[in-house]
Assembly symmetry: C2
Homo-oligomer: 298 residues x 2
DNA sequence: CATCTCCATAATGATTTGGAATGGATTTTC
DNA sequence: GAAAATCCATTCCAAATCATTATGGAGATG
C-alpha cells in the first residue's frame, strides 16, 4: 500500500466538494487529472472511495471510513513541515516588491499574509505601482520583484514568470440600458461611453484591438488608471467597462458576450542580471508551490 | 510539500539501518533507487535529512525531528489499510497450495503467517511436495497454486511467477579437509563425494552442468531429495553439497568459490486454463506487495 | 598505497503522469 | 420530450519520473 500525498489531497478535496471538477479547480488541476489521482489511490487501497452515480458523487462507506485517516496524515505532514521550517536557519532580510493595485488587492493579499506567517523574519515592503512604473523600476535595477499585467513588449533584460490568467468581462451598472438587452453585439456597446484605463495599459489595448478588429469606433473615456476607480464609475452608471471577472460585484451586470471576453496574463518579473536576494529567491520558490487563484479570495 | 509514501518508507528504513545500501536491500530496491527516493523527500521538505560524512550516514537534526512524524504517518496509513480490509466483504474460502519443504521452511512460513493474520477467513492448506510432484498436480488441475524451483521445461499450460532468486553455495562440515584449503578449484571438490538431491531436481542439474562444463567428473551420492536431510549429512562430514545461502548454518563452512555459485529461481505456478478461486487470486495479488526475502527470515 | 565499502551521478529504458479532446450518462430547462 | 448543460471516464500523446546498470569519488582498512 503505497500512495502519493497528492492523491490524498485529491481525495480530501473531492470529498469536501462532492465533485471531481470543483476539486480539480481547487487544486489547479484538470478534471481528468484529478480523476486519475483518485483512481490511483483507489487502486492502492483496493477500495472504491466514491460512488459515481450519474451526476452526483458521494463517498462510499469505505471512503467515509478512510477520510479521517487521510486528514490525519495530511495534518501530520503539515505539522512536520512547520517544524522543519522552524528548525531551519531563520530566513531573514528585506524583500521589496511592487504590484498593481488590482493584483495586490484581489490576489496578493492572502498570499502575502500566508508568506509572512511562514517567514516572520522577512521584512516585506509592498509598493503599489502601475505596471508601467514597475516595469521601468525593474529595468533600472531599483526593484527586485514586481507583479504586473503582461507588458506589450517583453524586455530582454527581464525574466517573466506567468502567475495567473484573468478574463476580462464587459460590465455595466444594473440600471444601465445595456443591462436590459437580450442579445448584444459590440456595436451596441459602442453606442455608450467606455471607461478604460490609460492607453499604456494592457487592458486598454486589448479592448481597443478588439473593437478595431471589428471595425467599430469606440467612445473611450479615461477617467482613471485604477480599475477600482473605474468600477466605481461603472457602478455609478457612467458607462461600460471591461473588468476582471473577480471584480464583478453585486452592483454590476456582466454582459453576455463571452466570445469577445479577452484574457490577460498576470506576471511576476525580475532582472536577469541582478542577482536576487535570499528572500527574493525564497519568495519565488515559495510561489511555485502556492499558486494564487480565486480560491484564496473566497 | 508533497511526497510519496514510498519515500517515507525509504527514509525510515535508512534511518533504522543507518545505511542506504542495507535499507535498499530491505525494501528490495537498488541503492541508487533508494538514494533518489531520499533525495526526493529532502527536496520536498527542503531539508537535508542525512549527513553523508564519508562512510557513515547519520540523521541530521532535521532528520531526527522528522522521524517521529514519518512513523506516525506510516502508522496511520497502515491502520487505515487494516480498517479498509476489515470493511471489505470477508474473504473466505479454501486455499490449497503446495511447496517444497525447503521453500516452506525458509521463506513461506513468515509469509503465510502474515497472510492468515490478515485474512483469517481463509482456510489454508499447505502440502509439502517435491517440485516435480507439484508440477504434475498443477498440470492435472488437482492443485491451484504451487511453489517450486524453476522446472527444466516450462509447461505451456502453466503460468509461472518468479518469486525470488536464491544462490547455491558450496558447503562442507567445519572439519572437512576442504574447509582447510586456501585456494579451491572445482577439481578439488571433485575429489570428494557430492551429496545432491535426485536428478530430476533443478539443484542437481545446476551442479552437474557446472562440472560438465569444466569437464570434471563428479562422484555424486544421492542420499535424499530433501535439502534439510542433505545438510545434516554434510554437517556429519559425509561430503560436500551445494545448498541455498540461507541454509548455511554454524556447523557448515561455505567454500570460497563465488564465481561458480549458481543461482536458482523459485517460482509460483498455476494452471492457465483453470480459473483461480477467490482466495487464490487474493493470495497472488497479496504476494505482489509482500515480496518474500531474507528479511522475513531474520 | 591498494582495496573495500558506501553513496552520488550519468545514461537508458520503462512506467507513470498530466492535459486536450472526446464520449456516455444524467439532470435540468424549456 | 427534446435540447442543453453538467459531470465523470477514457483515450491519446507529450513530458516527467522512476528503477536499473555502470561508473566515479571519498573515507575507512589493512
Amino acid at each position: 500500500m503505497d500512495f502519493h500525498l497528492a492523491a490524498l489531497k485529491a481525495f480530501v478535496s473531492a470529498a469536501r466538494e462532492s465533485s471531481f471538477s470543483r476539486a480539480a479547480d481547487c487544486l489547479h488541476l484538470t478534471q481528468p487529472g484529478l480523476s486519475k489521482r483518485i483512481r490511483s489511490l483507489e487502486d492502492a487501497l483496493r477500495v472504491e472511495l466514491f460512488d459515481r452515480i450519474g451526476r452526483r458523487t458521494v463517498l462510499t462507506e469505505a471512503g467515509r471510513a478512510f477520510l479521517p485517516y487521510a486528514l490525519r496524515i495530511l495534518a501530520e505532514a503539515e505539522q512536520a513541515g512547520q517544524l522543519l521550517r522552524s528548525l531551519q536557519p531563520a530566513q531573514i532580510g528585506k524583500l521589496h516588491l511592487a504590484t498593481t493595485q488590482h493584483i495586490g488587492l484581489y490576489y496578493l493579499k492572502p498570499l502575502l499574509a500566508e508568506f509572512v506567517r511562514q517567514y516572520p523574519g522577512i521584512d516585506l515592503t509592498v509598493d503599489f505601482k502601475t505596471s508601467a512604473e514597475t516595469h521601468k523600476l525593474l529595468c533600472q535595477g531599483e526593484l527586485e520583484l514586481g507583479f504586473m499585467s503582461e507588458p506589450p513588449l517583453h524586455e530582454q533584460a527581464l525574466e517573466y514568470v506567468e502567475v495567473l490568467n484573468e478574463r476580462l468581462c464587459f460590465a455595466v451598472a444594473q440600471q444601465h440600458p445595456l443591462a436590459l438587452l437580450e442579445a448584444l453585439t459590440l456595436q451596441d456597446l459602442a453606442r455608450y461611453p467606455a471607461l478604460l484605463p490609460g492607453s499604456n495599459t494592457r487592458c486598454r489595448r486589448l479592448i481597443e484591438n478588439l473593437f478595431q478588429q471589428h471595425a467599430t469606433p469606440l467612445d473611450v473615456r479615461e477617467p482613471s488608471n485604477y480599475l477600482e476607480a473605474l468600477r466605481m464609475l461603472v457602478e455609478a452608471g457612467l458607462g461600460w467597462s471591461a473588468l476582471p471577472e473577480v471584480m464583478i460585484s453585486s452592483g454590476l451586470c456582466r454582459l453576455p458576450l463571452p466570445q469577445y471576453e479577452p484574457a490577460r496574463t498576470i506576471m511576476l518579473a525580475y532582472h536577469r542580471k541582478v542577482s536576487l536576494s535570499g528572500p527574493a529567491r525564497l519568495f519565488l520558490e515559495w510561489l511555485k508551490e502556492h499558486p494564487p487563484g480565486l480560491h484564496s479570495v473566497a
